[in-house]
């Protein structure tokens, strides 16, 4: 099939096949109508003095843009600014009709579909977007699996069950004003995603038909992920980071741990060594959520290991057994110890900087400290004090290097002060001698 013949309609003929009979070319099939259309166009030209347009084939946009009713004009305006408008992908692909007909008769085509139903929308969009060969002509790196992924998502399953409240393409991407995901104002841009998902998922009324909670977005906003995203950490996840771009992961991931793992590799490795590995598998728990929570993932710290009343997680399950509690306490002590040592070293460095001292080698020593501290996180996941010990030692060593460097400079500063006092003493002595001498000279020879 030669796509160049009908770019505006793209492959929609096929995907709309169940709606309209396949039509390789509108013009070829209905010569009578075409003649009529041209006659009408000529008449219009004669009456209004309109100049023939270059995009004669998209008469829909030309006409709609001139309408006074905002609902009808808005669609054309929005389309023009959209990624589809910029690539010249016209109305026909989604709405059918006859884009070559400049009169109201364009709407009389059998395939004309003013309002594709919610069931139809994914099929319409997918018609082009899962056609790899077609999509490559416009955006060589755009994936073509959106429809497939959506179909296995909660949204897709809902639509398949004839639950028309489940989200379809247009609910997240917009309708006529669709922008590429890399556009900052696109509703599917990373920074907009939480708002876009939250539009329904934070709305108790919208979610009333489901068993889903509505606190995911607010939970996420408190999470370490949200903070990291706000701080510009590359790869920090908004909703789509864990649930998949088209919501596919929530339904299909073997366990949530499988979702966390690709980013939190080092932690996942250590979890393999932890006693929880087999216990969680036996109890059917997911790997990460029992301790870290789901949407409101907290920045991990030693506090996570203590009792629930103090914001910890261990005691949620280990209510009576003493040994795990003792281990948790021990691990927490070690982490707190490491954190305190690191903080003290940093404070010493900051104080030195505030007093205008520069410590040679401080930056690399602080980078080493930061690295050592980062390694504590993964190491604690084995929940084995003997495995955490060397990492704590590494932090203390790195902190020691920082403190030592600062102390050295402070020592030098003290020596400098001693030099100052010596010089001051000397000059004060000189001053005294000069004053004395001047007084004596004045006395010897009164004016």
């Amino acid at each position: 099939m030669a796509y160049s013949e009908h770019i505006p309609g793209c492959g929609a003929e096929r995907s709309l096949g169940h709606l309209t009979p396949p039509s390789p070319s509108v013009a070829r099939r209905r010569p009578a109508r075409l003649v009529l259309a041209w006659l009408a166009a000529l008449a219009a030209l004669a009456v209004f003095g309109w100049a023939p347009r270059a995009h004669a084939q998209n008469e829909c946009v030309r006409c709609h843009a001139s309408l006074s009713e905002k609902r009808l004009r808005g669609a054309a305006d929005a389309w023009r600014a959209s990624v589809h408008g910029k690539d010249g992908i016209g109305c026909f692909g989604c709405h059918g009709g006859d884009p070559a007909d400049p009169t109201v008769r364009a709407h009389l085509a059998e395939n004309f579909k003013p309002h594709p139903t919610r069931q139809e929308i994914p099929v319409v969009c997918g018609g082009c977007h899962q056609d790899a060969r077609y999509i490559r002509r416009f955006n060589a790196s755009l994936p073509v699996d959106q429809l497939t992924l959506w179909q296995i998502s909660g949204h897709g399953v809902g639509i398949a069950r004839a639950d028309s409240s489940a989200a379809v393409c247009t609910d997240c991407h917009g309708i006529h004003d669709i922008l590429g995901g890399s556009e900052p104002n696109s509703p599917v841009n990373d920074r907009m995603v939480p708002q876009t998902c939250g539009k329904c998922h934070s709305d108790a009324a919208a979610m009333s038909g489901t068993k889903l909670p509505t606190d995911q977005a607010s939970g996420w906003k408190r999470s370490a992920h949200a903070k990291a995203l706000a701080a510009g950490v590359p790869g920090a996840p908004a909703c789509n980071g864990c649930h998949g771009g088209h919501g596919e992961l929530a339904q299909t991931a073997g366990s949530i741990g499988r979702v966390c793992r690709p980013c939190h590799k080092a932690e996942a490795q250590e979890v393999e060594r932890s006693p929880h590995k087999t216990a969680f598998a036996r109890l059917g728990f997911s790997d990460c959520v029992p301790c870290h929570g789901a949407h409101d993932v907290a920045a991990a710290s030693g506090a996570l290991l203590v009792s629930v009343s103090q914001g910890g997680a261990c005691a949620r399950c280990h209510t009576k057994d003493e040994k795990p509690q003792a281990t948790a306490k021990l691990l927490q002590g070690m982490l707190d110890d490491a954190a305190q040592t690191g903080d003290e070293a940093r404070r010493a460095a900051n104080e030195a900087a505030a007093r205008g001292m520069s410590v040679p080698g401080l930056e690399s020593a602080l980078a080493e400290l930061r690295t050592a501290e980062h390694r504590l996180g993964p190491a604690v996941h084995a929940l084995d004090p003997s495995l955490l010990e060397p990492e704590v030692t590494a932090v203390k060593d790195a902190a020691g290097v920082v403190t030592k460097a600062v102390a050295q400079v402070e020592g030098a500063r003290k020596t400098e002060r001693l030099g100052y006092y010596a010089a001051t003493g000397l000059l004060a002595l000189l001053f005294g001698l000069l004053v004395w001498k001047s007084v004596r000279v004045a006395r010897r020879r009164p004016a």
């Binding site: 520069s358 002060r417 001051t424 000059l427 001053f431 004053v435 001047s438 004016a447």
Partner: protein, 353 residues
């Protein structure tokens, strides 16, 4: 005053009698200095001695700083931070340079005030007065160009404020601002310009003015003594220039070094933060900035800054012409000077808050 004394001849009275003097003709004239007597507490002399010592300190520390400073927009700040931190005694040298510069500006104000209060601008001191005023202006300029050199945000802000002050001068304001900033606004051209002025142009001019001042002041002192002798006026108490005043001058010099060193050690200056907060002008320009800031946009049909710049220029011209306006040295002048100074001090304090 200098007498060439060939080495072969026996020492004649008034000949140098020193190895160097014999060869150069430069003589100390110590005997003459010993007979020339001056008042015991002539403030302008001590201010001048202090200014000279501060200039020496500035030249020495400035040369040292120039060995480590890199005068281009990308490296300037880094090199200043490096001087303040990584280089041994860098903080001390920087501190000495900055404090000495601040004290020098203060010293020049004190010198001008002393000349005014002691009515020394009168005949034969007209040129002394002009040299002192010129010195104050130049010292203010060199201090400002130095404040630009760290090229921090606040240094650039200060440059912008000074550009605004220059712009307010009537007639030549726009051209003056261009000349000071190296363009219509603070930009990459401002830094090399400030550097050139700071280390070459202004030091050369200031040295000339300082030498002129010392010569003129010495001549004025002798002239006044002659006049007193003719009139038969015998001052109540005097001291010899040598050794009495010389000893005091050395003591003042030591005290100045002591003060600068202590300030540099105990009140470190963060690079580029000469005025403390950003948006604060250098303290010696704060009064002018404060007036400009509070000026209404329009005064008597003239834009506010231009009006104020015009008034300030007029005041400066009147002050410079003081010896000719008030050749007798009236009490009114001294009262006006005190009131003016109090106003400037108040505006400075207000402007820095």
């Amino acid at each position: 005053m200098a007498t060439r004394a060939p080495t072969a001849q026996p020492r004649a009275p008034g000949a140098s009698g020193s190895w160097l003097g014999d060869r150069t003709g430069w003589t100390v004239g110590a005997a003459r200095l010993a007979t020339h007597r001056i008042g015991p507490w002539e403030v302008e002399r001590y201010a001048a001695v202090a200014a000279a010592v501060l200039m020496l300190l500035l030249v020495a520390s400035g040369i040292a700083l120039s060995m480590h400073y890199r005068p281009n927009a990308t490296e300037a700040r880094g090199s200043v931070v490096e001087i303040a931190s990584a280089i041994p005694f860098g903080n001390l040298v920087r501190g000495v340079h900055q404090w000495a510069s601040d004290l020098l500006v203060a010293c020049m104000w004190a010198l001008c005030l002393a000349l005014c209060m002691r009515r020394l601008y009168r005949r034969p001191g007209e040129l002394v007065w002009l040299a002192a005023l010129l010195g104050l202006l130049l010292v203010t300029q060199i201090a400002f160009t130095g404040a630009v050199l760290p090229w921090t945000a606040s240094a650039r802000d200060q440059a912008r404020m000074v550009g605004g002050m220059a712009r307010s001068v009537p007639l030549v304001g726009e051209g003056l601002a261009h000349f000071v900033l190296g363009g219509p606004d603070v930009g990459a051209a401002t830094l090399p310009r400030a550097y050139g002025f700071h280390i070459a142009v202004l030091p050369a001019i200031i040295t000339l003015v300082a030498v002129a001042y010392w010569r003129l002041a010495a001549r004025m002192s002798e002239g006044l003594a002659e006049r007193r002798a003719v009139a038969g006026v015998v001052p109540a108490r005097t001291i010899a220039v040598y050794p009495d005043f010389a000893l005091r001058a050395v003591a003042v010099a030591v005290a100045v070094v002591l003060v600068v060193m202590s300030l540099a050690t105990f009140v470190p200056r963060v690079p580029g933060m000469t005025g403390g907060e950003a948006e604060t002008p250098p303290w010696y320009l704060a009064f002018f900035h404060q007036i400009l800031r509070k000026s209404p946009p329009d005064l008597l049909g003239i834009p506010g800054p231009q009006f104020i710049g015009g008034v300030m220029t007029a005041i400066l011209l009147v002050v410079a012409a003081l010896p000719f306006i008030d050749p007798r040295g009236s009490k009114v002048t001294r009262w006006l000077a005190l009131v003016g100074l109090a106003g400037i001090a108040a505006l400075t304090v207000y402007g820095l808050q």
